[in-house]
């Protein structure tokens, strides 16, 4: 079995990263998971959080706001709505996102609120992580 897999991080505007990775940590909808070579075919939506890619002994981290991940035995593709390298995420940026999300909760219909509240929560958690850097 190969010890690396093809990792692609794609945003609607361009391909952000394409490397042979040894492991990728993904903020999946039902919780964080780590995909390694030989992972069973798996498909998950993302929640706001950090994607951690380990390739050639180096770790790279991205902040994503949502999208989905497609994992197969030899490749993992993340289609992220927006993604920013961790180093470039600022507290202000996160605050803005959070404000928009919280605003959305107020406006949304009743049955959408739990999902949106969850999203706001995830954002808040991610913001605190950035703040602690």
């Amino acid at each position: 079995m190969a010890d690396t897999m093809q990792f692609d991080l794609v945003s609607p505007e361009r391909k952000l990263m394409s490397v042979e990775a040894t492991s990728v940590v993904v903020p999946g909808h039902e919780g964080e998971f780590t995909a390694m070579p030989g992972h069973a075919p798996f498909f998950s939506t993302l929640r706001p959080g950090f994607v951690l890619v380990t390739a050639e002994g180096k770790e790279t981290e991205f902040f994503v706001t949502g999208g989905f991940a497609e994992v197969s035995e030899t490749a993992i593709t993340i289609l992220a709505e927006t993604s920013v390298p961790r180093g470039e995420v600022t507290r202000e940026h996160m605050d803005d996102l959070l404000a928009v999300a919280e605003d959305g909760i107020q406006k949304a219909a009743e049955h959408h609120r739990p999902a949106l509240a969850q999203r706001a929560n995830d954002l808040r958690f991610a913001r605190d992580q950035v703040a602690n850097d």
């Binding site: 794609v10 609607p12 391909k15 939506t45 999208g67």
Partner: protein
């Protein structure tokens, strides 16, 4: 017969026009390259999205609990036409051909007794449709402030469209834009956004049996709105490339016409000059002979 000075002035003015059209052609060529690159870069995302959705949609198709965006409202009485055009003119038939296609489509729907609503993106399309379709207008997206087309622009449009869909303002949404094929050819295209259509993507049997988290249906409900935004984004990118391509060839034609006109005027100018010299000579000779 225009005087020599008039001719000279006209030649100069046409030369200036040619300078401008040449410059515009060059600018369009540079912008076209960038627009094409942007369209190219956006392709992987759109393709994956389509493939994934195609797979999911096939398994969900026919299910009565499938998301509304996929199976539609069950009616097709109210049609929303999204007409995407450029903010600027001077690009040949680019805007007109999109508007023409939308017009034919709208007329057909009206004749069939449906209700038509029109959402315009880009100033030129709105201006052209305003005269006879303004009572169908439901909105306009202004792109004149947008320097570089980004996903957020498409996302905003999609949000607007989806909000209208949720409010049951329409049953079917179609976007009109121009598909870029080459600098010479851009094909006006109509693409149905809602309910979502997946054609061409033949069943991919080689795809591994994915495990889905959350359930397939929830993923579908999450992805469909994104797919609307992606498709609008793709349409806008195609449009941007087409616009520059159309402008490039229009300006190329204009420059060539200007060159032809300069040649013609120069010949006319030289002839008149020669005629004037000849007349003058005849006068001098006639005067000398009279002595």
């Amino acid at each position: 017969m225009p005087s020599l000075k008039d001719l000279k002035n006209r030649i100069d003015s046409v030369k200036n026009t040619r300078k401008i059209t040449k410059a515009m052609q060059m600018v369009a060529a540079a912008k076209l390259r960038r627009a094409q690159e942007a369209a190219e870069a956006a392709r992987p995302y759109a393709e994956r999205m389509d493939a994934v959705l195609g797979n999911l949609a096939r398994s969900a198709a026919g299910s009565p609990t499938a998301p509304l965006l996929l199976r539609g409202t069950g009616r097709d009485d109210v049609h929303l036409l999204i007409v995407a055009t450029a903010e600027r003119g001077l690009c040949g038939g680019f805007n007109s051909s999109i508007v023409k296609l939308a017009r034919i489509h709208a007329q057909k729907l009206l004749d069939a007794g449906k209700t038509v609503k029109i959402l315009t993106i880009g100033k030129k399309g709105r201006d052209q449709l305003r005269r006879d379709w303004s009572k169908h207008f439901v909105g306009h997206v202004d792109m004149s402030e947008v320097k570089k087309l980004g996903y957020t622009n498409a996302h905003d449009v999609a949000d607007d469209v989806l909000a209208r869909f949720t409010a049951e303002e329409f049953d079917v949404a179609t976007i009109f834009y121009s598909e870029f094929q080459s600098v010479m050819t851009q094909v006006p295209t109509a693409l149905q956004l809602i309910p979502a259509k997946f054609d061409g993507a033949a069943a991919d049997d080689t795809a591994p049996n994915y495990e889905y988290e959350p359930s397939e249906e929830e993923i579908l409900a999450d992805l469909l709105p994104r797919s609307v935004a992606t498709q609008i984004f793709r349409a806008l990118l195609e449009n941007a490339a087409s616009e520059q391509g159309a402008r490039m060839s229009a300006m190329d034609n204009a420059s060539r016409n200007a060159s032809e006109m300069i040649d013609k005027l120069t010949i006319q100018y030289n002839r008149s000059r020669q005629a004037a010299i000849t007349t003058e000579l005849i006068e001098i000779i006639a005067g000398a002979e009279a002595l």
